[in-house]
Amino acid sequence: MFKALQTLGSYMMLMGKTFTRPERMRMFFKQYIKELSQLGVNSIGIVLLISFFIGAVICIQIKLNIQSPWMPRFVTGYTTREIMLLEFSSSIMCLILAGKVGSNIASELGTMRVTQQIDALEIMGVNSANFLILPKITALVTMIPVLVTFSIFAGIIGAYATAWFGQIINQEDLTYGLQYSFKEWFIWCGIIKSLFFAFIISSVSSYFGYSVEGGSIEVGKASTNAVVCSSVLILFSDLFLTQLLTK
């Protein structure tokens, strides 16, 4: 309990150090653009790939296991859309990104710490937390709505693929289901949730990476801890945010 409070305290202190005005806006934007590419653009491929296949699989599973003569034919499309919008493209996609982006951030900062690159920044009089962490957080928070939107579209295309190539479902039924009782707010729900998750992934992973002490083994541990802690926090906050946003 004491250790958890100590960790929370040092995380808050690090965030206090991070959220200050950047020394040189020019350097901040340079880092920000680099992080947009590294954390966001480089994740588009995996987001599209996973979302496409999950969209297709959800569609097949619902068609084969849920659909019955007692249910309307559009239920497959409708359920696929709701799952993609409400949970998969925001929460599950962020859990996947916690693995990819979180470990990337923690290992990058951890390596910088053990090779004294962070010390070098501090000696120069640079606020290393602000210089290294703030661009990562802002970049991921900026890119996450784009990734969520891409994920939703890829999932829906995946569902259509089952109709086009697998002939599992009738295309008209799927389209009708996807459009049936559509609530625009659900898209916003997904995006709002993902913004919180993006903050969790980037800040928690940065904390674990930045506070590494030791060598390569500790960097590996920090990377694992970053992914585990981010995932658990995403799941907890998903519970609260879902309650809050769908009331």
Partner: protein, 256 residues
Amino acid sequence: MIELKALSKSFEGKNVLKDINAVFQNGITNLIIGQSGSGKTVLMKCIVGLLTPEQGEVLYDGRNFLSMTKKEKIALRREMGMIFQSAALFDSMTVLENVMFPLDMFSTDTVRNRIKRAQFCLDRVNLIEAQQKYPGEISGGMQKRVAIARAIALNPQYLFCDEPNSGLDPKTSLVIDELIHDITTEYNMTTIINTHDMNSVMGIGDDILFIYEGHKEWQGTKSDIFTSSNERLNNFVFASDLFRKVKEVEMQNMEG
């Protein structure tokens, strides 16, 4: 000039530094020597402010670093340059970008002037041809030279080197030593070098501070070492046959 007054530091109740008093003059190379684990790196980290000592004062030309405000400390840090044991170059940047980094952060000069200054520093360490390479593409010795170029980019008044020769062959070590020594006299900087390389001690040890188990055991010049009767110092410096022979020859020369 850097002055240390009664500096003490402990970790979990264990005293790592005990009441260190020393003066490091500018324009000469000041060496801190001692066995591994004697507290050299902790002392260096306390001087540059990466660690906070429990007691004592660190005076930079009379300005007490430990009693400064955060803003004053940041301003003073811009007068410091440091070369780390691992060179600590930024992997994602080219050699030129690494040297330009402090200029980009703190200089209000135009981009053209910043590039010019960075190229001048690289030229000073004979590395102008490697400016577009990444740290991973150059040798350890070259990385150390880039670190020196980066450290002097902002014309610092204080230069700190933490084991600059570690992992380098003797010939490259000499190059690095000479470079640090030349830059120190050229810019009249206060340079402190942490080392246990005896070649550096004999070569550029203008002033040497010997740390033993966290306390100041001895301070003097490289020529004082040969005449010192301090047993711990002699056991450390003349541990190898080669250096014992060097001492014998040097003593004979002195007597002659």
